[in-house]
Symmetry: C2
Subunit: 75 residues, 2 copies
């Protein structure tokens, strides 16, 4: 399952400060790729796993969290 | 360094039969992604390493080989 981040929502000033690591991660990947479409960013399954370790949770749990925070792109 | 394959050249009937594994690999990745731009395909550094193992060579050597066979995309 692919995790597609909504970059505009991640960039909002009222973003939960706890989601800063996700926001920084997305930005880093954008730079590495030179991907400036600016609206969505799909990341690797291995990235979700790395992020869930940072959050002390598991991948499924983190996806739910991202969904609740409204930062996953609507399809 | 990114390895960008020229898909049209990889698809040619006069392709060196020894390059069949590369051609099959590219096709598999295209399917996994749903990437049908049809002209170029950039693969991961780890893929080049995996392919070089299959060819019993090293990554730099394989890049030279692909270049000589004309299957790397011109920039
Ligand atoms: N559609 C698609 N294309 C793929 C995929 N994996 C690799 N590629 C293509 O192969 C290029 C080289 O990948 P890399 O050696 O892993 O080198 C990558 C990798 O080290 C890093 N990177 C980019 N995106 C991600 C990501 O989402 N997660 C992680 N962990 N690293 C990434 O930045 C380097 C450059 O990225 P790009 O400029 O995008 O360049 C990428 C991209 O054109 C994939 O799963 N789907
Ligand atoms: N810029 C960007 N767009 C995203 C991203 N995630 C989703 N999208 C958008 O959603 C579609 C599906 O993206 P995908 O799963 O990465 O699946 C993509 C991807 O696997 C591959 N692809 C397309 N363009 C490129 C490219 O420039 N480089 C690489 N490496 N792969 C590409 O072809 C598939 C279909 O692409 P599209 O029809 O263009 O349609 C894409 C694109 O419009 C993202 O992280 N960055
Ligand atoms: N070894 C290898 N496997 C490949 C390659 N391209 C695609 N795959 C496999 O196919 C899955 C879906 O690729 P995608 O539709 O492009 O969907 C990708 C793509 O949208 C994005 N992505 C991941 N890595 C990169 C990257 O390096 N560059 C770019 N531009 N996008 C990436 O994240 C999505 C999910 O990535 P994954 O979970 O890793 O899941 C990837 C990966 O398992 C490749 O060049 N080499
Ligand atoms: N996951 C994902 N990432 C995307 C997508 N569209 C663009 N990107 C990211 O944004 C970078 C710039 O894309 P571009 O301007 O369309 O320009 C691209 C594109 O025109 C072409 N290209 C190179 N490799 C590929 C490939 O494997 N597939 C496709 N469809 N185009 C490629 O060369 C340029 C550089 O490609 P990359 O090094 O891959 O670098 C790509 C890739 O990292 C997408 O739909 N999904």
């Amino acid at each position: 399952a692919k995790v597609m981040l909504d970059l505009r929502r991640l960039a909002r000033s009222d973003l939960d400060p706890e989601l800063q690591p996700v926001s920084r991660f997305a930005h880093t990947i954008q730079l590495q790729r030179g991907d400036f479409n600016g609206s969505v960013l799909t990341i690797r399954g291995e990235d979700l796993r790395a992020l869930s370790v940072i959050y002390g949770t598991d991948p499924d749990e983190l996806v739910i969290r991202l969904e609740d925070e409204g930062v996953l792109a609507e399809l």
